[in-house]
């Protein structure tokens, strides 16, 4: 017999997911960057490309008829012969040139460039910009997503840790977190790292929950695409890389530079391969996360865009139903992928650390 509470919770979850789908549907149907109605394949493509990039303002959706953006601006912090701080509303979504301390800045494909007072962007023959780029330390949409995740994790784990002072059984959100913490410790860290696993638990737990929550944020209609940004995954992989190299013992370095148990010509051949392997492991880690999340976002948005592309053949009702069904199905798979990618990143990090700290046998 099925527990009625579980049934109720599952129903609520399904409702929530369908709500998310409907919301992102409106977000796409809302309009392009310029505020007009999206009609052609090029405009859909451009919209998806725009979503995959980081942005300097937080736009929930755009009213297609009036062209007004609903959202809020974020602070822009630039360094170019001095600090420039202003609100991104001065860019007006890329339509205006912002002036700060006698310098002019303009947005071109969501990136900030130094320009003249007219906001002219010069391109060379190959279509690359020749304008100077200031150092950009802005609180962009991705940074907001990362800060939000850090805050959520801090609140959740703080309450979990505090609860252990009173009773052994956690309350509230801790009831969801505790099994996951134990899972990461017993199923990921201990079998892969070995007896010295305790030192690495904080990093593995942090990276697991960080990636998982960011992946889930990417499925909400807020429109985050943080783990689908290659700069973020490079940062995460770099931490794993340095952690592995710095915790490596004598055996680890010996296996890289002078492989024991093989003849000398083989040792010389193996050395460059092993050195290359040091870098390809974290490289595969960063590419996997980036490509999986980006591909997921593109697929979901393309399926939602079917409403527009199939409208002329099937009519609005049929195209909407087909698109809703497919997008709903893919979103459910994406929920699984969100967890799986966090699991694999943590798992492989643990595996690499385990290789570095393994004792001689």
């Amino acid at each position: 017999m099925i527990n009625p509470t579980i049934m109720r919770n599952a129903l609520l979850l399904l409702l929530l997911i369908s709500l998310i789908n409907v919301n992102s549907l409106f977000a796409v149907a809302g309009g392009s960057e310029e505020g007009g109605q999206i009609d052609t394949k090029e405009e859909i493509n451009e919209y998806i490309q725009h979503h995959l990039q980081d942005s300097h303002d937080f736009t929930f959706w755009t009213n297609g008829k009036t062209g007004t953006h609903i959202g809020f601006p974020l602070p822009v912090i630039l360094w170019s012969d001095g600090l420039h701080v202003f609100s991104s509303s001065e860019f007006d979504h890329g339509h205006e040139v912002a002036e700060s301390k006698d310098k002019y800045f303009a947005l071109y494909h969501s990136k900030v460039y130094e320009t003249n007072a007219e906001g002219e962007i010069k391109l060379d023959d190959e279509g690359h910009t020749v304008n100077a780029k200031p150092l950009d330390f802005s609180i962009t949409k991705n940074v907001v997503g990362m800060l939000l995740t850090s805050l959520l994790m801090f609140i959740g784990f703080r309450s979990l840790a505090k609860g252990y002072g009173k009773t052994a059984i956690p309350k509230g959100v801790g009831r969801i977190l505790e099994p996951l913490v134990v899972y990461v410790r017993d199923e990921i860290a201990r079998p892969n790292i070995g007896p010295k696993y305790e030192k690495f638990i904080p990093y593995l737990l942090t990276v697991f929950f960080y990636i998982w929550i960011l992946n889930l944020l990417g499925l909400t209609p807020l429109g985050f695409n943080v783990t689908g940004n290659i700069a973020v995954t490079v940062g995460l992989a770099l931490i794993t890389f340095f952690l592995t190299q710095f915790s490596g013992n004598k055996e680890y370095w010996k296996h890289i530079f002078w492989m024991p148990g093989v003849p000398i010509p083989m040792k010389i051949i193996l050395m460059p391969i092993e050195v290359l392997g040091m870098f390809t492991k974290p490289f595969a880690l960063l590419i996997r996360l980036f490509a999986n999340i980006t591909a997921g976002h593109v697929v979901v948005m393309s399926l939602i865009a079917l409403i527009i592309t199939m409208r002329s053949q099937f009519g609005i009702v049929a195209s909407s139903s087909i698109s809703f069904g497919l997008a709903f199905f893919i979103t459910l798979i994406e929920l699984l992928v969100a967890f799986l990618q966090a699991y694999i990143f943590t798992m492989l990090s643990a595996l690499f650390i385990g290789m570095a700290v393994e004792e001689h046998h």
Partner: protein, 62 residues
């Protein structure tokens, strides 16, 4: 044009590889159901390694 053919070849190769991994894992589980947990973990790791390779090649192709 050529990079599209390359992308197709990558997907074919990755598909064959994933099929091999999944099929062999299933055979292993059928033979020894009590080891299914360990087989699943190993399967996911190998799958992830293959996927990393395929995605790396796809990004270079595209």
């Amino acid at each position: 044009m050529y990079n599209l053919i390359g992308a197709g070849l990558i997907v074919i190769g990755a598909g064959i590889g994933l099929g091999q991994i999944g099929g062999k894992a299933m055979e292993g589980i059928a033979r020894q159901p009590e080891a299914s947990g360990k087989i699943q973990t190993a399967m996911i790791i190998i799958g992830a390694l293959l996927e990393g390779l395929a995605f790396g090649a796809l990004i270079l192709a595209g």
